[in-house]
Homo-oligomer: 309 residues x 2
DNA sequence: ATATTTGCATAGACAATATCTATAACATGA
DNA sequence: TCATGTTATAGATATTGTCTATGCAAATAT
């Protein structure tokens, strides 16, 4: 068995067609057929049912393919790691980031970062925390950017920064501009929230002790998909919402007048970079970390973080 | 790069000597040297410092070796998996088992199990829960046998059985033979416990609400390394201890008279088989599971399990 | 200081194997 | 039955892995 043979069966699995798979592997169909046959002989196992059209992996073949992809994935990691050890950042990296962070954090560093590493193909995906964790385990993502602490798990993480939360309240809610807001004050107002699944929703519910919104001032509950939607809701319909520090950059001058600080201890969230413990591209992780921290509009203070529900 | 080259550098890393490594790889020193040189050229990276004696991996080489071992480990898994898909169980499997389970569970099935799979080299290690989890992650163990539920983690697990806990009390502690014991009664007695690190210690402390033993009847605290020691302590010095169901098999007729049941709901522990989610030798896991359950001296009732501290 | 030993590298021959071209075999549908 | 699409096979060729023999450098012994 060799790595090339594994690559061939994966190509056949991908294209379900020997001729196409051979083309994509830059060899003739004869070569690909022979090599696969050879592998099948070595394993004493038929990997593909060639009677069917398009060809399909046998049940045993499916299992072998899963493991084959795993092995080749690790070799890809090896090559990427080696290049990084020599200061050359190339290949592909898949990053997951939570939606309450993505629109504010990514623009800060991503252009510069990708310019610094022109050979690196960066694939970014906006996902909620649970999805990021799942994809990291499935090796479909290499890196996650999300709020910590997470419930105990076996992922490795590096703290990047903590950002404070702020109140964004419509004028009619009458929060004096020079006064700090206490989380408990919010009970009396319409608080617009993100939909379920966003970790920030739970964080806000938690530190505001807002268990059930409808029992309070809210006549309407609307679960928004993004913070931008929340801001618009406040602007057009009154009430208030909570924004993380990084979101403030994008507010207009008029909108900034709606921002109020919490009274200390200021609620805040910790943002970390997470990855599978064995992920070998350590240099890349460090470069990403450095780049993010360098481009923050505030100090990446490692403050105390409030508990998460 | 190919798998053979990875095997060669691992051999050199293991023996720190090209000639020995070549012998162990069943090739000449020339072949091994050339192949390693070739790999180094492909990676454009020196993997070993040949000036030093014995040879040592370069810092970059160390990283490569870690990943190389990972890749070859996954190929070993592939071959093992393939054999199992064909009903042939061979190769090696490393199993970790907690000390409060090992002496009672292993004898029940291990002889029969290894006879059923004569080509399988079974390596069993007695470790506490935390060590098993760590070794599973490091891929140094493939399978763990321990008490669940575990704190949330990313390991896969299959429940095997639940076993009840019993009180083993010296005659002078005066527990009537026909009466059930309430966990709270134990406060008034000397309870002998396992040393820290054993999950059963915490389970017992938990369901007996024994926070601090010394504040109660205990003049002596002695943290034992095994249940056998605890039994001996009770026999020689009085007091009592807690035993899991499987431990009862090894008691003498006289000792069995010291056993008392708890009043329902009977404290019990759940025993599971845990492994890394991607572990490909699923057949082996199933065979092990079947074998263990088949040889239990009681029904593997999937009862409710009490909370663990 | 010189010889000897130890340890890895290199050259050239040879063997194994991966790949190619050409063609056969097989199934499917017209 | 023939044409077409798809995979398998045969034989030639290129590539790669391995061997034997030897070189070279450093450490050790005489």
């Amino acid at each position: 068995m060799n790595l090339q043979q594994l690559a061939y069966i994966i190509a056949v699995d991908d294209y379900r067609h020997f001729v196409t798979a051979a083309e994509k592997s830059f060899v003739t169909q004869a070569t690909l057929s022979m090599m696969i046959k050879k592998l099948e002989e070595e394993l004493e196992l038929t990997l593909f049912d060639r009677q069917q059209h398009p060809v399909v992996p046998t049940p045993a073949g499916k299992e072998v393919l899963i493991q084959a992809r795993r092995i080749l994935g690790e070799t890809t990691n090896l090559f990427a790691m080696v290049k990084e050890l020599k200061g050359e950042f190339s290949g592909e990296v898949r990053i997951g980031i939570i939606p309450t962070l993505a629109p504010y954090l990514l623009p800060l560093f991503i252009a510069q970062f990708s310019k610094t590493f022109p050979l690196l193909k960066i694939h970014i995906q906006e996902l909620v925390t649970a999805e990021i964790i799942q994809q990291l385990h499935a090796q479909k993502l290499a890196i996650g950017l999300l709020a910590t602490p997470l419930p105990p798990n076996d992922l490795a993480h590096e703290r990047l920064f903590t950002e404070r939360f702020f109140v964004y309240a419509a004028k009619q809610e009458k929060f004096p501009a020079n006064k700090f807001v206490a989380p408990k004050q919010l009970h009396a107002h319409q608080v617009w929230l993100l939909e379920e699944g966003h970790c920030m929703r739970n964080q806000v519910l938690n530190f505001c002790s807002l268990k059930s919104l409808t029992t309070h001032a809210s006549q309407v509950t609307y679960d928004a998909g993004s913070l931008e939607t929340l801001i618009n809701m406040v602007d057009k319909n009154g009430g208030l919402t909570i924004l993380p520090e990084l979101a403030l950059q994008h507010l207009t001058g008029a909108q900034l007048k709606n921002i109020r600080s919490f009274i200390p201890p200021t609620p805040q969230r910790e943002i970390s970079l997470v990855y599978m413990p064995h992920y070998p591209r350590r240099q890349l992780l460090q470069e990403l970390k450095k780049s993010i921290i360098r481009h923050l509009p505030f100090e990446p203070v490692k403050g105390r973080v409030i508990a998460i529900s």
